[in-house]
């Protein structure tokens, strides 16, 4: 599934853990599985390295969606990292929702190193969600929009 980008070009930051999801993204590439160029990946050692501050920072700077990818629960390279990430992100996402930020602008997905297909599908589906949500206006910093 390749999402057709219309006028709105979303900016999407994907934090991928080094051991599973980043490798999954590599596999998607090796298998030439397309997903939109709107997705830019930042490599982190583990999903538990993702500080809520990074996510808010991305929104401040103009990101329209932020996705965090880690090893499947139980498969964390560091044994427990993604379990902590899961709680932290649940808490953060719930707070963002509470503040009225559109549902779906943030997402957590578990993608293993073997799931290139899943990685590409996940990114396509996330991009289409963000396109349907439109531009991030609720967590933006207008100063960063001045070109």
């Amino acid at each position: 599934m390749q999402v057709e980008n219309k006028e709105f070009k979303p900016l999407i930051v994907a934090f991928c853990c080094n051991w599973c999801s980043y490798a999954g993204a590599d596999l998607a590439g090796t298998n030439r599985l397309n997903y939109p160029a709107d997705v830019k990946i930042i490599r982190v050692p583990c999903s538990c390295r993702v500080n809520p501050m990074f996510i808010l920072r991305a929104f401040q700077r103009g990101a329209d969606g932020v996705i965090i990818c880690g090893c499947h629960p139980g498969d964390c390279h560091y044994t427990t990292g993604n379990y902590y990430a899961r709680r932290r992100m649940t808490a953060l996402f719930s707070m963002l929702d509470y503040l009225g930020i559109e549902k779906g602008r943030t997402r957590v997905e578990w993608v293993s190193a073997a799931e290139g297909q899943r990685f590409a599908e996940t990114m396509n589906s996330f991009v289409s969600t963000i396109i349907s949500l439109g531009e991030n206006k609720r967590l933006e910093d207008l100063r960063c929009k001045t070109k």
């Binding site: 809520p52 501050m53 808010l56 920072r57 929104f59 401040q60 629960p73 139980g74 427990t80 379990y83 902590y84 899961r86 709680r87 932290r88 992100m89 649940t90 808490a91 953060l92 996402f93 719930s94 707070m95 963002l96 929702d97 509470y98 503040l99 009225g100 930020i101 559109e102 549902k103 779906g104 943030t106 997402r107 957590v108 609720r138 967590l139 933006e140 910093d141 207008l142 100063r143």
Partner: protein, 325 residues
């Protein structure tokens, strides 16, 4: 109660059990009460006060006070005792240097609530068990039910139990059933647009005076990330609505699992932002998703955000619950 407290403090000072007393000091007029350290019986007799306006939570002062020479007597209300115990849990206070006298609390009067009822020019306030009578400079004499002018945190009191103390003055209370999450639930039931509008209105008033953070007994960082030029996120002022949200989201997140819901943040906000609703949201979420947890209730239980279970819910649960799009 005030007399009993002064008497007990004097006794402990005289016996040498403590060398100073942390309490509240009278002000220039009726309600401007300041937390203070007393070192003599004379000072206690002259300035020590405990009444409807001694609302300040003294526990945070113990971070510094407990590091000083000698032992300090601290009077802690139920709310304050939770904060204090949480500070012990985080190794922020030296317990052995503090002598805690627990004091029961039936709620404190919010001067802003009186003012919001149009009462001003206050020259005297008399307090009975369930009413306060205000005398004003305009020669008025106004009586209001105490319940109507209590702090929100007192109306929705979570516990009248002092959870840690060396002795109790008066009868210790019990944990009470409170409706403290109702306001959160009400917000959750709104649409995201309504919630966004609500919080924009509230947070846009923020002047970044840091009163909420500096009064917060959970915010005891040596240096807050927002004050640290090297943190990359430091900012002195909320230059726009994003930074208003950022500060409050991150502050609430940093105290999540550690906030005892003492309500000081909302009490001190000069702009009347209901900041406790952010902290309570985290508390409510964690209670619902990971099991009941009350910060400060003990010193052992692992706070939910530094804990996990293999079958925790996925973050996507957030989008399946509550107020719909």
């Amino acid at each position: 109660m005030q007399d009993k407290m002064i008497a007990r403090a004097k006794e402990l000072l005289r016996d040498g059990a403590v060398n100073r007393v942390l309490g509240w000091k009278t002000g220039e007029f009726v309600y401007d009460i300041t937390p203070a350290v007393f070192t003599s019986a004379e000072e206690l007799d002259r300035d020590f006060v405990f009444d409807a306006f001694t609302a300040a939570n003294l526990s945070k002062y113990l971070v510094k006070e407990s590091k000083k020479e000698g032992k300090v007597l601290a009077f802690l209300k139920p709310c304050d005792s939770y904060s204090f115990q949480q500070l012990i849990k985080e190794h922020r206070v030296d317990r052995e240097n503090v002598y805690i006298v627990g004091i029961p609390c039936e709620g404190k009067v919010d001067i802003e609530a009186l003012k919001a009822r149009g009462i001003s020019g206050i020259t005297a306030i008399e307090e009975t068990a369930d009413a306060v009578t205000v005398k004003t400079v305009y020669d008025e004499d106004i009586t209001v039910a105490k319940q109507d002018v209590l702090f929100e945190r007192c109306v929705n009191c979570k516990s009248k139990k002092v959870v840690i103390c060396d002795e109790m003055l008066g009868e210790n209370g019990e944990i009470v059933d409170s409706d403290r999450f109702d306001a959160v639930a009400k917000l959750e039931a709104m649409t995201p647009d309504e919630r966004f509008a609500f919080w924009q209105n509230e947070l846009s008033r923020c002047i970044r005076c840091n009163a909420c953070r500096n009064v917060c007994p959970a915010c005891t960082c040596e240096k807050c990330v927002f004050d640290n030029v090297n943190s990359g996120v430091e900012h002195k002022v909320a230059a726009n609505s994003f930074e208003e949200s950022l500060f409050h989201i991150i502050r609430a997140y940093h105290v999540a699992g550690r906030c005892t819901d003492c309500g000081e943040c909302s009490r001190v906000c000069p702009q009347h932002i209901p900041l406790h609703l952010l902290n309570r949201k985290f508390i409510k979420d964690m209670n619902e998703l990971y099991g009941e947890y009350q910060a400060g209730a003990d010193t052992e239980t692992r706070p939910p955000l530094v804990n996990f279970s293999m079958d925790d819910c996925e973050p996507s649960i957030v989008y399946q619950r509550g107020g719909n799009a």
